[in-house]
Symmetry: C2
Subunit: 141 residues, 2 copies
């Protein structure tokens, strides 16, 4: 795994609390195998909501004439699994993931669902570390 | 319609920008009939995301041992249409709604979908008026 300083450079956020970053990158399968108490599933839950709000505010600002239906369709496209997996691949998120052996053997490191979920967990960890503004910087720029 | 001061007392938030409250209470059908430019549909879109984040953070805090699956199910129940419509009825939201004649005649003032959407719009208007903390005060207390 490349050093964690690399991923922080790539996403433009230096974590005050490195544990948050480590938790975001720890898949449940790794935590189970290695008896690590924390993994990223609950962060994924929070990240989904954080991302939803950041994208909604962005769309409200940038699409002043769009209807609620159009905004909803746009948001759904932006936060879709393939879109999130694509961003995750761009920042090389898979290579920083702590995965269990089973997931590793079945190609988990490049699965859309796993990458999208990890990106959501990463977004939650940035939010908990530094608030909405830091997430906006990462997601929108 | 009762005075708008009443609904502000009921929800525990005094709007700095009263226009936000008025927009949240203006249904598209009323805006169309009366050539009012602003209605609450786009606010509904934003409110859905604001509510999602506020509830997610609350569940993360109060359910430290719940899995991501449990948290997702809980969140879905809390933000479901019947749950939101029930809160809307508790605060008497229907009586403050500006509705078009067609919606009025078909009982729109007491429709679950319409009440839930208006509550989401109200949540967005509180958020735009005073931020997340004000929404938390309204939603969680």
């Amino acid at each position: 795994m490349p050093p964690l300083s690399d991923i922080q450079q790539r996403i433009g956020h230096q974590f005050r609390n490195q544990e948050l970053l480590e938790r975001a990158l720890t898949h449940k399968s790794y935590a189970n195998e290695n008896r690590v108490p924390a993994h990223n599933e609950r962060l994924e839950f929070l990240g989904d909501a954080v991302l939803g709000l950041v994208i909604s505010e962005y769309l409200m600002r940038t699409c002043p004439d769009s209807t609620e239906g159009d905004l909803s369709r746009l948001r759904a496209a932006v936060v879709s699994e393939p879109a999130l997996a694509s961003i995750a691949r761009e920042i090389g998120l898979g290579s920083y993931l702590l995965l269990g052996k089973g997931e590793e053997q079945t190609g988990g490191r490049d699965k859309d669902s796993l990458l999208a979920n990890t990106l959501e967990a990463l977004i939650a960890s940035i939010y908990l570390d530094a608030g909405t503004a830091a997430v906006e910087t990462f997601v929108l720029f």
